[in-house]
């Protein structure tokens, strides 16, 4: 097993170096995707299956589509996308310095006990058996709530890139596929299966690795496949229903927090009696919001056509 882990580590470092070396930007993007895949396996080896699920979905899937769409745009606008030099020296020095600082910090800190004794004591009051879900949605719910709001802020930032005339257009570039072709068939077979997998991941998150973020990212990926294969039409952001779906996660989370306050145990502290059901309700609402937000983030601002010429 040591040999396997050592090879994996060496591969990860090699892929990281290959990502930043050379001039070809597309090659760097593909190496970045490969890096995400290897790091997902590394998380599994480190026993962090929740993180592995999120890394596989976001690092290898959604970020990949974002980068590939970006370099596609640059190419269509005939913008020189490659670097002029094989190695960008200031960036290389800054990253090396940061890596060295992180390495020093890692070795300087004492190793934590696993599982933490306080967490082990508090788990019976959590309402779920998965320790990660308990920490995310019960013990450290404040952080998670703020993270969901940050996601929404990022989405609004993307929407600000819309041209005025396109505000009521559907999100992203207008997709078109050959009717009856391979892509269109794929878009009909994968989404139902993927939807079930996403829902399963959310539900399994109470007792096995999984949860709202993991299920939400898989659902976002499924939605993206459906949109890109022409199975569903991307929505307009002026539609009220979609806007409600976007904010329902943080809203339910806030309501649960206020309910905790009114039931006397404090803001965002769930009393033991309702903790299990409250967490499930929060997870369902969060999954909907996260899936929508991520899918909209990757699809981009509303556009009516790719008016090439300018690289925006």
């Amino acid at each position: 097993m040591i040999l396997f882990d050592a090879t994996l580590c060496a591969l990860i470092i090699a892929v990281a170096l290959a990502t930043v070396a050379g001039r070809d930007s597309f090659r760097a993007i593909v190496f970045f995707i490969v890096y995400g895949l290897f790091v997902a396996v590394a998380w599994v080896r480190l026993d962090a299956v929740n993180v592995a699920l999120a890394e596989a979905a976001i690092g290898a899937g959604l970020t990949a589509v974002l980068f590939l769409a970006g370099i596609g745009r640059l190419r269509r606008a005939h913008v020189q996308a490659d670097q002029g030099v094989p190695l960008h020296l200031p960036a290389a020095l800054a990253c090396t310095g940061l890596t060295a600082a992180l390495g020093w910090a890692w070795f300087a800190l004492p190793l934590p006990d696993r599982p933490a004794p306080q967490l082990a004591q508090a788990m019976p009051q959590a309402g779920v058996e998965n320790a990660v879900t308990a920490v995310l949605l019960n013990f450290r719910a404040w952080d998670t709530l703020l993270e969901t709001v940050v996601l929404l802020a990022a989405l609004i930032g993307v929407w600000m890139l819309t041209r005025d005339g396109n505000w009521s257009a559907p999100v992203g570039l207008p997709q078109h596929v050959r009717p009856g072709g391979v892509l269109s068939g794929f878009g009909r077979v994968l989404p139902p299966v993927g939807f079930l997998v996403g829902v399963y991941l959310v539900y399994a998150g109470t007792s096995r690795p999984g949860g709202a973020f993991q299920g939400g990212t898989v659902l976002a990926a499924v939605g993206l496949v459906a949109a890109m294969a022409g199975t569903v039409r991307p929505p307009r952001i002026t539609a009220t229903g979609w806007r409600v779906a976007l904010i329902i996660g943080p809203l339910v989370f806030l309501l649960a927090g206020v309910a905790g306050e009114m039931l006397g145990s404090g803001f965002l502290t769930l009393p033991v009696a309702i903790a299990g059901n409250a967490i499930l309700a929060i997870e369902i609402a969060l999954t909907v919001s996260i899936a929508m937000t991520l899918a909209f983030l990757v699809l981009g601002p509303p556009e009516s056509d790719d008016s090439g010429g300018s690289a925006s």
């Binding site: 391979v182 892509l183 794929f186 994968l190 299966v193």
Partner: protein, 100 residues
């Protein structure tokens, strides 16, 4: 009971070994074939067969139907994705080498 377990273990050894061989074959094809399209062909056929054999081998070690169902689902999705992606990527490569 131990006879059953031993049979299951032998099945796992054989099938995962075969799966590894197919993975190796597909990878050798990826490196050695002279042309984009032949490399695509090697990838799609050999590596997914390797994945299927490996999943079948591990299924003999599964402890409940849930794991077997998951393994079958993984392989089915891998086949579906590989077939689709191979067609699309090959067509993209064709469009790029053959501008009208």
């Amino acid at each position: 009971m131990s006879g059953q377990k031993r049979m299951a273990d032998i099945a796992t050894y054989v099938l995962t070994g075969l799966g590894l061989m197919f993975f190796l074959a597909g990878t050798v094809g990826l490196i050695r074939f002279p042309d984009t399209f032949s490399r695509l062909h090697a990838l799609t056929k050999a590596d997914n067969l390797g994945l299927g054999l490996t999943a079948l081998g591990i299924a003999f070690q599964a402890q409940s139907w849930r794991e077997i169902a998951l393994l079958v689902l993984i392989w089915a999705l891998a086949l579906l994705s590989a077939g689709t992606v191979a067609q699309l990527v090959a067509r993209t490569a064709l469009n790029e080498t053959d501008p009208e």
